[in-house]
Amino acid sequence: MAPGTLYVEDVAEGDEAPVRSHVLTRTDLVAYAGASGDYNPMHHDEVIATASGQPSVFGHGMFSMGLLGSALTDYVGVGNVRRFQVRFAKQTWPSEKLETKIVVTGTRNEAGEHLVDLDVRLHNADGEEKVVGQATAVLASRS
């Protein structure tokens, strides 16, 4: 088990992971398009996006999930995530401040492993939820 990972003895329902906060830029969208191979112009071409009736380009849903995933692995340790599920609730827009909220909903034992269940969300500064989901990760034990 990796150093800096989460121990079952230290985790309780209601605990919150450190918040990750990020102001979305058009450069982020270009970088994500290149790194993901998703070149849907709605995410990088302002001319096409506005001609289609959108106020501007908007973020890839999978960028939002990726940002949330980074906060998740910061908390539980890379390699310890067992399940990660989200629903894409709202579009994200350049200049929005996106913030993660990850809350422990419970811990359990399954097949000799300690697991933690988490409520995972990404919202903007006004509290509008962009991505809502759940995750499960394996925990280390001191005993």
Binding site: A2, Y32, A35, G61, M62, F63, G66, S70, G77, V78
Partner: protein, 165 residues
């Protein structure tokens, strides 16, 4: 599109592919999701974190088919049709919007640089709903990734796509 047409595509394959997972791309992808962790960039940091190699960020399985699919690695029995495309194609021809509704990953082990993974996708659900005067068509595709060398399961990706018109 009738419900029976949609029911017929449940269980149909969406493709089979073999991907290679490359270190440079993992670091680039980690940067794109704003993750500065050294485990994605430095094998010494990965080892120190107890990892067997440079790992992939959690959402990486969604994009790996866009990069690591090289022709000589592909299975000769890969299905040629894609059930999702055959349903969404005619719908998109009528206009409307394609939305990514939900995404789920189940991980059996971390993905590492150097992995060669085999993915097999199929439609696991398809249905239509009327909502606020719009027709919503839902197609759920599940892709099961296994380690080509051992046949062990690595990750299952479940994608819910919505066409709205």
């Amino acid at each position: 599109m009738s419900q029976s047409v949609l029911s017929e595509i449940i269980g149909q394959p969406t493709g089979k592919s073999v991907v290679t997972v490359e270190r440079g791309h993992l670091a680039t992808f980690a940067g794109a999701v704003k993750d500065a962790s050294p485990v994605y960039r430095d094998p010494r940091a990965a080892t120190e974190a107890g990892l067997a190699g440079i790992p992939a960020p959690p959402t990486y399985p969604f994009v790996m088919e866009n990069f690591g699919v090289f022709p000589e690695l592909q299975p000769s029995d890969a299905p040629t049709g894609n059930a999702m495309v055959s349903v969404l194609g005619p719908l998109m021809a009528k206009g409307g919007l394609i939305l990514h509704g939900e995404q789920e990953f189940t991980y059996h082990r971390p993905i590492f640089a150097g992995d060669v993974l085999e993915g097999e996708g199929k439609v696991v659900d398809a249905y239509q709903k009327e909502s606020k005067g719009k027709t919503m068509t839902f197609v759920v595709v599940e892709t099961v990734w296994t380690d080509q060398a051992t046949g062990d399961p690595v990750c299952t990706s479940r994608m819910n796509i919505i066409h709205r018109i």
